[in-house]
């Protein structure tokens, strides 16, 4: 009796947490899957970006034009607002182009609004603007989908999803605590469907726990830090936001123009000296008050010796004086901590192998999310305590939303490859095709009765689209691809290998689903969640 009364509150606690874990999990699952899926692809942001652009405008390694010549020719071509800053993203061994961002003069009457910004992709050998960087939108689109869903206010929504994801992780640990070590590798493949799914959900959850905890916390730091920023400003800093930024290690130089022109050669001399350093990779340069006596340059890049150390230097162009520096000998703990969190989040602290590992873990988490939903559906169908409509919605969202996202991503890759580089509103067409195919997949998921067969059809469609994309790659850009291989720009081929592996994975999954053979044998027996009712 005593043991029973002692055990009861704990059982109730676990029961309440299990209920919350399953409901919260199923509510956030479509967006969480989207965030993890887009994040997984975004791990290869640079590679995807180069796969999209490089075959269109292949660049051979030749003698580069001086940066000053390139920048000043762009300033002459565009109506740059000299009160704004100008940013140049430097080429790297994997990405040959300069990227120049120019804030244009605002129209009359719209001086207070944020003006138009042109982002130019520039051939370093000729100085010619080959395209607007935003025209090749696939990489940025998937990245934005990951952190703000391409929606206004999406950043905060992703932050809230991260918060509930962290809750699901912590509550999952409580629920699973007793069996955490005992059942660490337990997967009962010989048991019934529910036990198998539960083991798979738990094994992936436990194994990826350090990784998922890191992602949930870093997601919160990136997307919801504004809440604590406001609290600090209001209660500790008495409204003085600039002092908070200064204490957090973010340097701001907001000097007015003197309105006396100077020669900017000094700035480019400093840039050349910094670029020549072996222990530092210069990523970008920001010019403030370009061409004015008050001109300042900000150089940002990676320390190649120390872990996750991003350096920053401010120089006064007129005197060459170093105004401020952030490096391994002079850093702010808050800023450094945030950079380490970012490094862990993006997995860019080592080679491509770490990102491949991150990618596999992200896909495992996507699978865990889907399995969690299948467990929820199985339980609700069994208990019959949820309306048929709710079950139908969750089933449609799981199948159409999650499967549809994979299909839509394949469609976006195909569109990015086949649309002409000069096409008007090219980026918009890519977004329309992604959203259109996702919506179509979701609608069909509600209509089609045989859910398992529909899943297999969706995977097959994805495989076909990816195969056609690969074929289009070589038909449209065969000669350019060979030239890129000879020039050493191999990230394009890494993406092709990735697509090929996905095709193989898709075919293997379709074979495992065993749907089409079953149909041929006219066997209509169905037991699974995706088989519909």
């Amino acid at each position: 009796m005593n043991t029973q009364t002692m055990k009861r509150p704990q059982n109730k606690l676990i029961k309440n947490l299990t209920e919350s874990h399953s409901w919260i999990g199923v509510i956030i699952s479509p967006l969480l899957f989207l965030i993890f899926w887009a994040g997984a692809v975004t791990l290869f942001y640079e590679e995807v970006k180069q796969w999209a652009v490089l075959p269109q405008f292949p660049v051979a390694v030749q003698q580069e034009l001086p940066l000053q010549e390139i920048v000043e020719s762009k300033l002459a071509q565009h109506d740059f607002d000299y009160k704004e800053h100008l940013m140049v993203q430097m080429p790297s061994e994997h990405d040959p182009y300069y990227k120049v961002y120019l804030d244009l003069v605002r129209e009359e009457g719209k001086e207070d609004e944020h003006g138009e910004v042109v982002s130019l992709l520039i051939d370093p050998n000729t100085g010619v603007s080959v395209a607007d960087k935003e025209d090749f939108f696939l990489g940025d689109f998937l990245y934005q989908l990951h952190y703000n869903l391409n929606l206004p206010g999406g950043t905060y929504l992703v932050g809230i999803i991260s918060l509930f994801f962290l809750f699901a992780l912590v509550s999952g640990v409580f629920i699973h605590a007793k069996k955490f070590f005992k059942h660490f590798f337990l997967y009962r493949h010989d048991k019934n469907r529910r036990d198998k799914l539960l083991d798979l959900h738990n094994v992936v959850g436990v194994m990826t726990l350090p990784f998922t905890l890191m992602y949930a916390i870093s997601g919160l730091v990136f997307n919801l830090a504004i809440i604590y920023q406001i609290a600090f400003v209001v209660f500790i800093y008495q409204g003085d936001q600039d002092t908070l930024f200064k204490d957090a290690g973010f340097t701001l130089f907001d000097e007015p123009q003197i309105e006396k022109t100077i020669d900017m050669s000094g700035a480019y001399q400093i840039i050349d000296e910094v670029r020549a350093r072996d222990d530092f990779h210069l990523r970008n340069v920001i010019f403030y008050n370009y061409g004015d006596e008050a001109a300042i340059i900000q150089l940002r890049g990676n320390d190649l010796v120390n872990f996750s150390q991003k350096d920053e230097f401010f120089y006064r162009v007129k005197t060459g004086e170093l105004l401020n520096k952030t490096d391994i000998s002079n850093y702010n703990v808050f800023r450094k901590g945030r950079e380490i969190i970012a490094t862990l989040h993006f997995g860019d602290f080592a080679g491509v192998d770490v990102r491949v590992l991150y990618f596999i873990l992200s896909l495992a988490i996507c699978a865990m999310i889907v399995i969690g939903n299948m467990l929820w559906l199985d339980k609700r169908v069994l208990q019959q305590n949820v309306t048929q409509r709710s079950i139908s919605i969750i089933r449609g969202l799981t199948l159409g939303g999650c499967g549809g996202l994979v299909l839509a991503t394949a469609v976006a890759f195909f569109i990015e490859r086949v649309l002409p580089a000069t096409m008007l509103n090219r980026a918009d067409w890519l977004v329309y095709s992604f959203v259109g195919s996702l919506l179509l997949a979701m609608v069909l998921a509600y209509i089609v009765d045989d859910k398992k067969r529909y899943l297999a059809q969706m995977i097959l469609a994805t495989v076909v689209i990816l195969a056609v994309t690969l074929v289009a790659d070589w038909i449209l850009f065969g000669a350019q691809l060979i030239q890129l291989w000879q020039s050493g720009f191999q990230s394009v081929f890494a993406v092709e290998v990735g697509l090929l592996l996905f095709i193989c994975l898709g075919l293997w999954v379709v074979k495992k689903l065993n749907v089409f053979k079953r149909l041929q044998a006219n066997n209509v027996a169905s037991t699974g969640v995706f088989e519909g009712s």
Partner: protein
Amino acid sequence: MWPKSIIAFLGGLLLSVSIMLSLYLLLPLAIDIKLLLGLLSGFLIWVAVMVYCYSFNNGKAVAVACGKLLMLSLLVNAVLFWTLPPL
């Protein structure tokens, strides 16, 4: 589930801000370290409060428990703001 979720979300937010501010005022560390600790601990406290709230059976019990914690935390905040010198 909805009353529990709303109280867990908002109660967790208020408690985390309140406890984080108390920690900031109490910890004898450099400002940049306190800012980083404040940011990270804020989210962890928020989630801890959510787990605590979801462990109750109904919304009313959650509101009472969360309300008590919040009152206590605000009291500590008030004492600290009055007794410690401003930044």
